[in-house]
Point group: C2
Chain length 251, copies 2
């Protein structure tokens, strides 16, 4: 029984296994994909890290992710906004001990992000690109976790209705939804073709009768039709965009 021996300092390695979750909570702000980071009160101050922490004995991994995200940022998410990512478990990934962490990806409308919560003061939104490029360094291997989460986000918006998670749950216009795809994929999509593709992809969005929801978006121009998240779990065929000219898709 490793745990007892290690905990009591009998065996050579004094580290037990810890099971943790880390959450990459993404949102779109100012046409940029951003993620939530927290300021850890570590030895050296100013260390940025993903929100996360140890899984409790009687909760599921998903519950742990929801709890930790709320405790550290004040963000409350629905179950369909949370997606499990990769597990990270290299022996030396965390100097404090043997941590195996399960990444979770949360997709949020900007309005919900870091709105309230006790410890929320320490939470902050930073552009994902700054982390991917390495210009912003996070604690431990959290840069790797964000990179994997970004790839997962691309897959999610292509294969599932997850892109709607970035929009208001009340309802959204197709421009808002298109903006999500454009921001994450990194190129512009023809509005006309986008509209048709969405319409032909059953289960992505449902039309909302006019009047039940106030049209959102800019005050200019013709008011848009409103939609809400569809009920499909997988899109068939996926939402695919070849990207500009002969350039290959983001990877």
């Amino acid at each position: 029984m490793y745990f007892i021996l290690y905990s009591l300092g009998v065996a050579t390695k004094p580290v037990p296994f810890y099971v943790a979750v880390d959450i990459v909570a993404m949102t779109i702000e100012d046409k940029e994909l951003k993620t939530v980071v927290v300021h850890r009160q570590s030895a050296k101050s100013g260390v940025l890290a993903l929100p996360g922490g140890i899984v409790k004995p009687n909760e599921s991994l998903r519950q742990a992710a929801m709890r930790e995200l709320f405790e550290e940022t004040g963000i409350k998410v629905e179950a369909d906004q949370l997606h499990q990512g990769r597990a990270f478990g290299d022996p030396d990934r965390d100097p404090r001990g043997r941590y195996v962490t399960i990444a979770y990806v949360a997709l949020l409308p900007i309005i919900d992000a870091i709105s309230a919560g006790s410890d929320a003061a320490t939470a902050e939104l930073v552009p994902v690109q700054r982390i991917l490029s390495g210009r912003l360094r996070l604690e431990f291997d959290h840069n790797k976790i964000v990179r994997a989460a970004y790839k997962k986000a691309i897959r999610l918006i292509e294969d599932t209705p997850a892109a709607t998670s970035f929009c208001s749950r009340k309802g959204f216009s197709l421009s808002e939804l298109r903006n999500v795809y454009e921001t994450i994929l990194g190129w512009e999509i023809d509005p006309a073709n986008f509209r048709r593709k969405v319409a032909e992809t059953k289960g992505l969005v449902d039309f909302v009768e006019p009047g039940s929801v106030a049209p959102s978006g800019g005050t200019r121009g013709r008011p848009s039709d409103m939609y809400k998240r569809g009920k499909a779990s997988e899109l068939d065929p996926p939402m695919w965009f070849r990207g500009p000219s002969d350039k290959s898709r983001a990877s």
Copy 2:
């Protein structure tokens, strides 16, 4: 510190966290996708389970998967044949304690499967479909793990050169590779169109000069050109097949 309290039976729940790996080792035999299961010497005999076990303090998750697979089935895999899948960590998924397990998917050519090894006698190949349909019940939530692994396998052969893992590392014909796709996707693919798609997908396979490798496959007909795995990590565009007529793709 949960571990000490729980281990000593002080707290209400006497279960520490265990971190484990379970391996879904798939291969193709008789035009059928099969996976390796082992007979657990449990209380009730005849219980089938995925190979797997506890991660050791100083090994990575991947190393644990390679070790456990070898120990329990005698199968030795290369790093590029092992792919991490989902984590399963519900509190009640294993009655023996709080197990968080990371699934690994291994893709093997049939020739390597269960060839040698000490405990190999207890290992067995069973059709994946029998597990997916529920006709074959595995221990705990291993049916769920296989289901997720099957989806992952589909994604892998579409987005990466992983389909080549089912073929001999020495070299393979395009018929053999096409057979992999047909078996996993569940429908037939036009050989001519398949050939063109493979040729246009850079990094999927590399041509092998005739003479260096003996043509494999049936003794009838014109000998085939031989190929080996390409160096791409992601295929762009992916290997996609719409499937027969208007029928939607497998899900």
